[in-house]
Symmetry: D2
Subunit: 224 residues, 4 copies
Amino acid sequence: MIKATPFDYPYDGRLDPRSTALVVIDLQEDFLSPTGYFARQGYDPSPLRAILPTVNQLIDAARAVGIRIIHTRQGYRGDMADMTPYEKWRRSRAGLDGTQVLLRSGPGFEIVSDIEVRPEDIIVDKTCNGAFTYTDFEHVLRAQGITHLLFSGCTTDVCVHTTLREACDRNFQCLTISDACASGDQRAHEAALHMVTVENGIFGALTNSAAVLAGLAKLPRAGA
Amino acid sequence: MIKATPFDYPYDGRLDPRSTALVVIDLQEDFLSPTGYFARQGYDPSPLRAILPTVNQLIDAARAVGIRIIHTRQGYRGDMADMTPYEKWRRSRAGLDGTQVLLRSGPGFEIVSDIEVRPEDIIVDKTCNGAFTYTDFEHVLRAQGITHLLFSGCTTDVCVHTTLREACDRNFQCLTISDACASGDQRAHEAALHMVTVENGIFGALTNSAAVLAGLAKLPRAGA
Amino acid sequence: MIKATPFDYPYDGRLDPRSTALVVIDLQEDFLSPTGYFARQGYDPSPLRAILPTVNQLIDAARAVGIRIIHTRQGYRGDMADMTPYEKWRRSRAGLDGTQVLLRSGPGFEIVSDIEVRPEDIIVDKTCNGAFTYTDFEHVLRAQGITHLLFSGCTTDVCVHTTLREACDRNFQCLTISDACASGDQRAHEAALHMVTVENGIFGALTNSAAVLAGLAKLPRAGA
Amino acid sequence: MIKATPFDYPYDGRLDPRSTALVVIDLQEDFLSPTGYFARQGYDPSPLRAILPTVNQLIDAARAVGIRIIHTRQGYRGDMADMTPYEKWRRSRAGLDGTQVLLRSGPGFEIVSDIEVRPEDIIVDKTCNGAFTYTDFEHVLRAQGITHLLFSGCTTDVCVHTTLREACDRNFQCLTISDACASGDQRAHEAALHMVTVENGIFGALTNSAAVLAGLAKLPRAGA
C-alpha cells in the first residue's frame, strides 16, 4: 500500500509486484540534453535532468521487489515514413530540417546514460505522445499480466499525461509520482499533476517518490 | 483560415467544410444539471452552462457552411457490464450507488435541451474519457473523410483533452476553441488550454469562438 | 475441460465459468430470414437456421454454470454515417438501395426470436466483421475479467472467423464450436473450421457442441 | 484498373500509385527455409518458395510506377516479453524451447534474401497474425495517404487473411493476388482465396499476378 491522494494506492490494498510496472517515459537525449530537441525548442532541460536521481532510486527499489521496469522512447522512423505533411511542416518550422532530432536513427533517441537500462527491462518505441497508440505496449502488459502502472518521466503534461489517460481508459490502475515527473514548463507540470486528482481521482492516484519508496520497502525482496 | 495560436488553422490554409467536424463533447445533463453527477461531486456546473450560447453560435455557423456536428455522450452501460470493480468502488465512494447517474439508462445521459441535436448530426457514445477508445468515432470520421476537428464541450481538462490528445496522435488537424470549452475547476481549465500550445502547438492550435465565427463567415454557405 | 482438437480446452485444464463467455455472432434476421440481406444475396439461410437448436442448448448449458452470453449484431448506423462511398457502391450493386437491410434502424438488425436474449446478456453492436474493431467488446471483456471465449454463430467464414482471429491476436483463449457455427457457403464453412487447426491450433481449439455440453456438465451449477 | 473478381479493382477505376501499396507478408526465413519454424511444424515450405519469382515481378512492376512496398515480419521479442503462458506452452509443445525460432533476435526473422528489400521500403514488425494489431502499420499507411492495398505473401490462410480482414474493416481498398500468396496447406490456401469473393466481395477483389502486371503496365512510369 502506498500513501497517495485522493486515495491510497492501490485502492484495494493489494500491491503485487508481479502485476505492477514502473513506467519511465521518454528519458531520452532529445529531451534531456542541452543540444537536443527540447533545448532547441527553447525549453530548459534542467528540470528534466533534476529528476534522474529520483527515478533511479525508484528503479532500484522497484527492481529489489520484482517490479518490472518499462522504458518508452519517442521518435519517428529514420525515413520519416510515419510523418505526415503537417508534422514535416512543424518540424521545418522548428528549424529541424536536415537534423536527426526526434528520429529513431539519431543519437537523441537514446535513453540518457544516467538511467541504467537492463536487459530484463522492456523498451517500447512510439511515434505518438501516447505509448498505447500504434505500439505493442498494451500487448506486452497483458501478456505479462501487468495491471498496475507507476508513472515517471517526461514531460508530465505531454507524454506522461497522454499515456496516463490512455492507461486509465483501458482500466489499468495508475499512480503518478510527482517528483519523478518533469516538464520544461513548470505551470503545465504542476497543472498536470493537479489534474490527476480532479473528480476524486479521475486519472488514478497521485503521490511522491518518498511514499513509493516507503510502500515498496514493506514488500518482500524479490528472490529472497 | 482561422486566426489561432501558435499558428493559424489549418496550417496550410485549406479549410474545407466537408472534411471538418465540430466536436461537442459531453454536454449532458449529468455534467450540466444542478442535480447531475458533476454537481454531486461538489463541482459548480455554472461554468459549463455558461458556454452553451457560444456552443450554439458555433453549431449554427458550422451548419451554415456544411460542417458536420458530432456530439459525444459519456456513460456506462445500464447494466454496468463495462465497469470494473475499481470503477464500482469509485462510484460507491462518490455516493452514487443505487442511482442512475452516469448510466446510459438514466436521464443524466441525455444532451441538455439547450443544445439542438439534429437528425443529421452524429452521436458517439463512449464509456472512456477519450472518444476514440472502444467506439466507432474514428471509423465514422474516416468514412466521412473528416480530417479536421474543432473542439468544444466539457470538461476541458478531462474528456475534451483526452479526446484532443487521441485525435492528435491519430493525425487529425485539431483546433481547440477556448470559450466553447469549460470545466468545474477553473485552474485545470486554464492549464488545459495552455497545454495545447506548448512545444509550439503540440496539440494543434488554440483560438476563441470569435475567431472561428470570423473564419467560417468567409466560407461559402452550404447549399447556396 | 472440454475435449477438442488439436488440444483439449482450455490448454491448462482450468475452465472457470466466471472468466468464460459464450459468444453468439450475428444471429440476426438479416442473415437468417428468408427475406433478409443474406437471402437477397442469393444464399440459402437454412444452414444458419439449422444451428439454432444447438446454439440454444449451448446457451442453456452455459447459463446453468454461470457462463456469460454475449451476442453480437452487425449493422450500419441508420443514417449510414459509418459507410464509405465504396460500401454504398457495394450496397447499390447488391440491389439494397432504399431498403433498411443491414441498417441498425431496420427490422433485420434484430436477433432472431428463436434465440432468447436475457437482460443479463451482453449485446455488442458492430459495423465491421470483427467484433473487436470500433466497439467496446474488448472493454467489456476486460472489465468482466473474461479471458476465455467459446464461439458460435454466423457466418463461420466471415464474422465468426474475423472475430476469432482478433480474439487470438489479443490473447483470449478461444474454442470454436463446429456445429454451432454456420455459413451459406458450405465449402467456406468447412474450410474455416479446418483453418482453426492449422499450425497445431493457430486459432485455438476446435470442438463440437456435444463435447462442450459434456465439459460444462462437469462444472458446478451456478447459484447452487 | 486491374481485372479482378467479383469486380475490377479499384471499384471506381481510379488506381493512383501514390495511394497504393504492395504488401508483402512474412516472407521470412522462419517460414520459407527448410530448417525454419514452418518446416519444423511439418509443413513443406516449397509452395512458399515457389511464389518468390512472382512476388519479385510484382515488386519490380510496383516500383516502376511508384507504388510503395511494405514488408511485414512476424516474430516475438527476443526476451519473449510479448508472449503469454499459453504461447509458451504451444512453443514448448512444438519442440521450440531453447531455439531462436520465431524470435526477432533469431536468423529466421529475416526476410529471405530472394526478396530485395530497398531502403525506401517500409518494414512493419508484428507479433500478431494481423499486421494492424499492436503495430504502427495503420499509422504509416494514414501518414502516407495510402488507401489501397495489394496483398501477397504467406501464409494465405493465416497472416495474409487476418491482415486482409483487418484492412477491410478499416476501409482500405483491398486486392488479393492469388499466385503471389501461398500456404503450406493447399486446401486452406485455396479456401482462403475463395473466401475473398463470398457475398460478392466481402474482403475486396481477387486477381492474379498477370492481371496486376497488365494493370500496372498501363500506368505512367514513376519519375518519367
